[in-house]
Amino acid sequence: MHQATIDKTAKQKVVAICGNPNCGKTTIFNYITGLNQQVGNYPGVTVEKISGKFSHPSLPNQSIQLIDIPGTYSLSAFTPDEFIAASVLFGNFTKMDKPDVIIAIIDATNLERSLYFLLQVQQTGIPVVVGLNMSDLAAKKKIKIDRKKLSELLGGMPVVDLIGNRGIGVDELKEEAVHLLNSDLRTVDKYYSHETENAVEELIQLNPHEDRSRAHLLRIIFDAGGPAEEQFLQIEGEAGEKLLAEIRKKIIKEHSYLTHAETSVLTKKSEEIFNQVITKPDVADKTNTEKVDRYLLHPVLGPIILFGLMYFVFQSIFSWAEPFMGIIEQFFGMIASSVEGMMAEGPLRSLLTDGVIGGVGGVLVFIPQIVILFFFIAILEDSGYMPRAAFLVDRMFRWCGLSGKSFIPMLSSFACAIPGIMATRTIEDKKLRFITIMVAPLMTCSARLPVYAIMIAAFVPYKSYFGIANLQGLTLTLLYLLGIVVAVIVSFILKKTIFKTERGTFLMEMPSYKVPTAKSVLIRVYNRVKHFVVRAGTVIMAITIIIWALSYYPHQDGEALTAERTEEINQTIALSEMNIDKEFNSLTTAFSEAQIAEVSRLASAFTAVTSQEQLSSIADSMISLYPAYNEVISLYKSHEFTKLEASQALNNLPNEVAGTQIRSSYLGKAGKTIEPFFEPLGWDWKITVSVLASFPAREVIIAVLGTIYNLGSDIDEESTSLIDQMRQATWEDGEKAGMKVFSIPVAISIMVFFALCCQCGATLVTIKQETKHWGYPIGVFVYMTTLAYLGSFAAYQILTSVGL
């Protein structure tokens, strides 16, 4: 808003917001920044970084940057995710400024555990504001927290009561944070044991130039084998290694276990604070969460509800989106026809109507389905159901090499494999993590949805059973299941071969259920849709234009082609006329005049004939009545046959010309060359080309099909939807010439291919970033493409052999 007036010389102030997972941190973040957010990656790594801006009247010409730090239970770090959270707070993160203020969000109903984390954060020395979230829930549970006392015991940190899902207290929190912006670093209480404090001192002495905060040094000391140690050893080399071993030895001598030197201090200290600030009833009340979990986590009901829920979501994606998609389709239809009306025929008009509008519009039609899918995913995540889903399926997932923890990344992969693959960072076991990464792209992501949607809408009959289940929804569910089943099999094989896993862990909090806030859900849906639209406007648009150009050039003049073909057809008719005159005379030399008159009368009956079938049946019955005229009638029949074919060819000429044009284009030639390889899958060259073009991004197939069928169809005819055009498409040549291209087996074959194939450049790049090795994305690409070809081959051959 004040962009123009921002003082460029002043360093932008940075506030970091942190807290345990499920403490309602993101909701608060959304309240402070509104839609003023940016999703990106931390420089150099791929942990998603969400940052936003807000302003405050006391700093009129400045916006303050707010960074959302991944939720974590402690600053001790063993996974990449945890280390990033920690090192951002240490100001140890390259290319990112050290925060000026930290906002720590704390779950008031879970104060003691949060204190452990808060005490570690305090060790950074950065001024901290504490947001005591869910204070309404705490009040309901009759937990009373003495805010003043808490603030006092934490060395004067401001403490603010929050009800995050209603935005209450957020202003006060902002106020306190801004107030602290100009204050200095705090001196930190040194309540760790004597040995620990000595160790910290020795590490500072080792390299006084390196600016490491106390909190950071503690991580180097205590997280043996963790990323902080690894980084330290890289910088300090052997001297560092020796010193670290020495000081750890001293600590272990005193505390018997290394980590106890920290955990015992922190748990004791948090217990102390806790007991002084809290009054709560002794009896643990049976909460609503417990009551709900009695059903949702029931050994039999639980899984049934889980799968019922998934089924419901997929059904709704279909039925609710329908009317809105119609509106969008009409909208683009209107634009296309008005552009067509305004411009003269030529490459530019073709590019706009067939390429850009036909292609990108075809993809944007799926916005309603994306909205519904993300709406449900956001609700499931915000409500606290996701960890329960993981709990329910952990045992089922384990035998195949995955764990319930893999379930959450895999569920996210239903939206998009990229956040799903990134979400695997919470999996500590490396092998388990790699298996999950390698099978996550098999989950049905939202980019596959448009492909399924259009194929199902066009070729699977809309049949309803019992009023709730319909065949289309069932097909969609089966496709989702296909992805899951194949993922299970693949990970089982991976577990038995490449990644022989040891037993992983499954430590996870089961948060209380929360009613998701409209604001948080809407912001997430909005961000996702924005992402989708931007993709449609950039990547998909670019590919669409390339495909359009390849299928338009080299351009053959339509009028010249039409004239040429008309000439050819007329010549055929003239030749046939000439032929009949000659033959008639030679066949009827022996006929009497009455006979000739009779034959002519019979022949005139042919003129009213409109189809080849009619012609044959009339000719057959005449011959059986007048066997003597057999030859003459056959002659007339063949002549009428030629005329009939010619007039049909003339009627179909615009389509034929368009077909010839696209077949002779670069794309058409390439497609025809590789067609035989994909024919066993039931595909003609147009499908083949569309599928190949969609390797960079799946949604492209809709755009490409739209472009190819628009170009390959009669332009004067009222433009029909892609679905109608696909239904009408016929094979152009070969033994199937004239037969319909699309049938249920072909549609299924295409969908199976998309279910199993890794047609997503971005996913492959993400896998490379996460695994730090090109071998993994290449492996994923090869195995998935092979499976896709074999899968759709099998689907098509089996379905056609049973006569579908």
């Binding site: 239970y73 402690s74 001790s76 063993f78 109903t109 879970n110 003691e112 555990r113 452990y116 984390f117 549970k141 276990y257 290394l258 980590t259 106890h260 955990t263 748990t267 217990e271 643990a284 969460t289 979990d293 986590l297 050994p299 039999v300 639980g302 899984p303 960890p387 993981a390 709990f391 329910l392 952990d394 045992r395 089922m396 384990r398 319930g404 500590e428 037993r503 862990t505 499954f506 430590l507 996870m508 909090e509 089961m510 948060p511």
Partner: protein, 76 residues
């Protein structure tokens, strides 16, 4: 004294300590499984693993293999 994985769903007790010092025990501590606290074994997942426990006001899920690290004193 017994181990968490040897308890029955519905039983409750007190956390005594851990049989080992590793990442798992550390994470358990951070999640609030602190010696001296009351602990309740709530339920098993379908097919009996993992399990859900309650420590303080917080519910956790963990596998039986991890639960075997935690020593418990059962309530009378």
């Amino acid at each position: 004294m017994t181990f968490l994985d040897k308890m029955q769903p519905g039983q409750s007790g007190k956390v005594v300590g851990f049989t080992d010092d590793n990442r798992v025990s550390r994470r358990l501590l951070e999640l609030g499984v602190i010696p001296g606290r009351a602990i309740q074994y709530i339920r098993n997942a379908p097919l009996n693993d993992p399990m859900e426990i309650q420590v303080g006001h917080c519910c956790l899920s963990l596998r039986h293999a991890e639960a075997s690290l935690i020593t418990i004193e059962l309530d009378e």
